[in-house]
Structures are given as C-alpha cells and as structure tokens.
Subunit: 371 residues, 2 copies
C-alpha cells in the first residue's frame, strides 16, 4: 500500500492524496460505503462504483461469524465472493464486539464474546483478528482495539488505551501478508493527554495508516472536532488518517478541514432505507405527505439513477407501500450524494478553495438542518 499527499491546503489542514492498493487507487479525502456482511445493503458493486466510491468497508466481526473467513478464502476471497473488485478496508471488529455481542469478557489476551447469531462463544485476540482479515484478503487491515464507551472515567480510559496500544504492537508482529496496509487505531477517549499519549506511542511503533477511533459515540460535535484538533497534528503527514464511523456530511467537511483523509459510515445506506434522503439544501423525509404529488426528483441536478428517472411522489409511494425497490433507489441517491460531496471536496482542495466550499456548504442548507 502506498500513500502520496498531492496537495496541502494553505489555510486549513485539508489535503488531497492518493492511496494505491493491490485492488486499485483511492483518491482522498475518500468516503467508504459500508458493506457489513459482504454487501453494501441493497445495491450492487456496479451501483456502488457508479456513485463515485472507490473503496468499501467490510465488517470483520460480521464476516467472521457469517459466512466465516475460511469459507470466504476457499471461495477466492472477499473480492471474488462479493463481486466488488476495488479496494476493501476491513475494520477490526472491536466496535461490533463491544456494541453487538453479548457476555463479553476482556482480558489482556483478547476479548471473549457470544455470537448474536447463534449464541456460540468466540474469542478475538489481536493475532486472530489480523489472521481473519488476511484470510479474507482485505486490502487495508485494522488492529483490534477497544472502542471506549462514552462517557468513561479517566482510569478506565487509561487502562483501555494501554490495552489498545499493546494489541497494536502485537498486531504489527502478527502480520504475515505484505500486500495489505495495516492501520492502528488511536484511542484515548476525551482526555487530551491520553489521546496524545496514544498517538505518540502508535507513531513510534509505526503503521501504514492511522485510524481515529472512539468518536461519534454520543459526544457533541464540538467534542469530536476538538479531539481531531488535538490528535491529527500528532500523526505523520505521509500516512493516511481515517476517522472511523463518521459521518454526516458536515462531520466529513469538518474532518477534511482538520486533515482527515478517509471516512466510513452507514449513514447513506441506513438513512436511505429509512427514507432519509440527502440533498445540498438539506435532508428530505420521503414519507412526508408533502411529497405525495411532488413530480420533482429528490434533488435537482443530481445525475444518479434515482433522480434521473423517478419522482419524489413515486419514492414516497414505494416507501409507504413497503416496496423493496424504494430501499434501493433511496440508497442509490444517498451514495451518489456522498460520492458527489467527496468529489466536490477534492476539487475544492485542488483549487485551493476548501474554506469557501465549507462556507457555501453551510450557507445553502435550510436553516437548522443538521444533516
């Protein structure tokens, strides 16, 4: 994996980059749609690519439990299995173990958890998590970490961060394949000194990329941005920085301004399935009665399949009727919205006008819209 910074903004920390992986190029800043269980929910790989996405995220936790990493390997790996031939980043599974699994027990060695599918008991150690990701053929592998709950005490946060650091060291030693990149995760909660401590230690060990974890867990956006302000400057300039699980369009722009190169979030897909559609001027709740006879597309000027062919009235009808085509058409639009947003962000950095872009982003939105 190779990463090059192509341009740095003069007024902000935003930067334009290019990440080269075994399965192709990713222009950064990049947004990764989430393909939890081997499918970006509701859409085909071609539809994902057409939205402008160049890389997707797969959930190690889900894929390990079903269909299983060995089965995926025996079927030619995750790319062949799912039909997505571009780059794939797999997360560490840490977040899911702590949010979705039951009866967990954390030891220095790893974490014991119960499958939410069948109740069977499993253990994730840092070494196993690397092996799973290598087995399925991920392009970018993430070290096991604990996503610290919010709020948490200083003591809990310190202890957990130390464990994440030890796990990161063990992860680096466990790597057997050299065609993937290895990302560590900066934890440290909402304590400045612990974030700094964690970032320093990880940088000393040295990784191909640096994820920032433990954000978007219930804190205010000011708290999130403050952690970025503290943490990003401590990370090496020549390595990609990935803000995990974030987020809404405005979080992405604020992240970019603060030097983030990569993002992932279920927002475009999950919100789409719930009828929450993104537009430049704010969001649309498609079930609202006002769209009943609205002949206009979700967003004027959007070139996605959904906007080029269907009216808000039809999308509302599909949603009200529980038609699965509606989930798909909504998802396609939202993915395109995110694809266009990232493209516009890259163009703005290229042309040295990301600050103006940010200003305009806020100015054309309906007042009070938080999307």
């Amino acid at each position: 994996m190779k990463f090059n910074v192509l341009k740095e903004d003069s007024l902000t920390s935003a930067r334009l980059g290019r990440l080269a992986t075994t399965h192709g190029i990713v222009d950064t800043p990049a947004f990764m749609p989430v393909g939890t269980s081997g499918s970006v929910k509701g859409v085909t790989p071609e539809e994902v690519r057409h939205s402008g996405a160049q890389i997707i995220l797969g959930n190690t936790f889900h894929l390990y439990l079903r269909p299983g990493s060995k089965l995926i390997a025996s079927l030619g790996g995750l790319h062949k299995f799912t039909g997505w031939d571009g780059p794939i980043l797999t997360d560490s599974g840490g977040y899911q173990v702590f949010s979705l699994a039951k009866l967990r027990k954390i030891t220095g060695n790893g974490v014991i958890f119960q499958s939410p599918i069948d109740g069977s008991e499993h253990i994730f150690t840092p070494e196993m998590v690397i092996e799973i990701q290598e087995t399925i053929g991920s392009d970018i592998i993430v070290c096991l970490d604990e996503c610290i709950p919010f709020p948490a005490t200083y003591e809990y946060t310190k202890e957990s961060t130390d464990m994440t650091l030890q796990w990161a060291e063990r992860s680096k030693k466990a790597i057997k394949r050299y065609d993937s990149g290895l990302f560590c995760v900066v934890q440290g909660g909402f304590f400045k000194d612990l974030r700094e401590y964690c970032a320093n230690e990880l940088v000393n060990t040295g990784f191909d990329g640096y994820a920032i974890g433990g954000l978007s867990v219930g804190e205010s956006k000011d708290m999130m941005y403050s952690v970025l302000d503290q943490t990003v400057p401590m990370l090496p300039a020549d390595r990609p920085r990935y803000l995990m699980g974030v987020g809404l369009p405005e979080n992405i722009i604020e992240g970019v301004i603060r030097g983030i190169d990569m993002f992932d979030c279920v927002v475009p897909t999950r919100h789409g399935r719930r009828g929450y559609l993104f537009t430049q001027s704010g969001h649309i709740i498609i079930k609202n009665a006002g769209y009943k006879d609205d002949e206009s597309p979700v967003e004027d000027g959007c070139d996605c399949y959904t906007c080029s062919k269907y009216s808000r009235a039809y999308l509302r009808h599909l949603f009200m009727s529980g038609e699965i085509l509606g989930l798909r058409l909504n998802t396609i639009h939202n993915l395109h919205y995110f694809g266009r947003l990232m493209n516009a962000i890259r163009g703005a950095i290229e042309e040295g006008r990301i600050s103006q872009f940010r200003e305009r982003f806020y100015s054309i939105r309906k007042e009070g819209d938080r999307c």
Copy 2:
C-alpha cells in the same frame, strides 16, 4: 390494440402471435411479471425488460387504494409514474377484493369491501373498475369479475357466473377510451356446462381478448388442464387468450399447448424472494447447506446478471444474512428463467417443434420436481 396470429402449430393448439398496444409490441405466448403496487418487487423497469418481459401486470385493487388512481393520473399515468414504458395490463381487482379485503358484500351492482390498509370502505362497480383502469392509463383493461372460491356448489357457481356476465356487458358499455384493449374473464368454475355457457355469452358480446379466470385456486393440475381443454376451443381464434394467475413453468407449457397466449404470476418474484430459484433441471432452495461452498452460478449457461457474476454460495450467504440484495439477485434470475422459457417456447412453435420441446422440458428435470 391489435392481435395477429403468426403461426399455428399443426399437432397442438399452440400458436405464435403478436399483440400491438399503444406502448409497444408483445410477442406471444407471453409471460407478464406482476408489478402489484407499481413496482415489480425488487427490480427496476430496465431489469424487467432485460429479462425478456415485454409487458407487465399492475393490480388495480392495490393501485386504487394506494397511491390512488387520480394521483397516478395527475402524475402522468402509471407508465410515467413507475418508469415502465412498455405495455401494462391491469387486472380487474376482483381477485384481490375476494382474497385480500374484509367485510365484503356482493350485490348485483358491485362489491363493497374494506381496505386492508386502513379499514376504509370502498365499492367496486364494473363501471368504476373500468374508469380506474382508464384513469391510470392501462393498455389492457380487464372487466370486473368474481373469482369463484374452490370448491363451490353448482348453484353458487351458476349465480356468480351470471353476475360476472352481467358485469362484463356493463364493462363494455362503460369504456370511454379506445386506445386500450378490453378483456373479459371466463368464469364458470369446474362445471363444463357453465364454462361453455360463460364462454359463449362472452364471445357473443365480443371483447378484444379473453381471460380465463378461477384457475390455480387449489384444484389439481389435471382439473386446470381439463378446463382449458374445454374452454379454449370456444374462444375466437383471432383474439388473445390469457390464463390468469398461472403459473409454474409446467403450467405455462401445458397452457401454451392448449392455445393460451398470455400468462401472469407472482411465482418468479415471490419465489425468488423466498430463495426458490428456477433452473431447467428443476428448482433450487438456496438456503440449503449444500450450497454453502458452491462456486457455480444458479444455472450454468444462464446469461442473467446474477448468474454471470455471483455464486450459489454468495446467494446463500445473502439469504441467510437477510441481505436485501439477495432478494433482488434471486428475482433477477427467476425473471430471466421465465423470459428464456417464453423465448424458447416461441422459438419452438415457430419451428414446429413445441411437442418435442415439451417432452424435453420434462425429461431434463430432476425426477419429482414440480416446478
């Protein structure tokens, strides 16, 4: 609407035809995928067309209740609203009133029913049902009828058939648009004389096409074929014959042999969503553990998107994981199976070998497969 018989088989009643509608040509024998609520469930109009289907069916009952025929008209009609620009046949709603609605009351004038969506009370008269179908812009309109329950007494069947006949006469008089075709429905249950009586009366009145209703309601396939053997010869040779709600591939072949030109059924779409996939050698239940590591496509030689890109193992995984992409990929394959079947049937009639085609259809199937 115009219909031409292009070729008649010498050994069977099978025939090749062409139906010309305002929205395009339909080669017969034809299968119509069902777009219940303005969407063939899970797929786009382009995917429907790519499967080989040239005409789809819309359910008057569903569309009348939601989003409503006037709303559809105000949005430019059903074609524009749904994005399907080919021919659409709408059914009479009779079947749904009798199978899905509550608290119904049948009078000579029409039928009173309660909406399954919100409990509101509605009435369908023959005139209203024509008006609804004309309002939404259907290419082929079907007269209101009663789909007689199975089993039913002779007396019930006689009375109901008389009502259907009166409704058909009233329907013909109610027609205001002359760019659509009007089909009546032959009822008469499983009584030979009542089927003959009904067919004769309808032919005397004269319609653009003749649907055969009240089949696939729980009777044996021999009973179904026997009704076709009796009824089809009574219908005018120069008008299309449509076997409503049928059916499985073998029902279609047996229908074609008996002179049927058009079919519709939810089988490819509904079975697809349930993981029941059609192949020439029989059906596949995709959730079966045997497909867990099966790298082959659903059907070797199938050129559908699903078979050209995905393994049975992946489809099984999507099904087991409840991924909506699985519903769609399964539906695409099944629609293609039906599209290829109809194409092969038309080719066999063209080349005078439909009897051999039928023999081969049975001979290459796994023993005991009823699909």
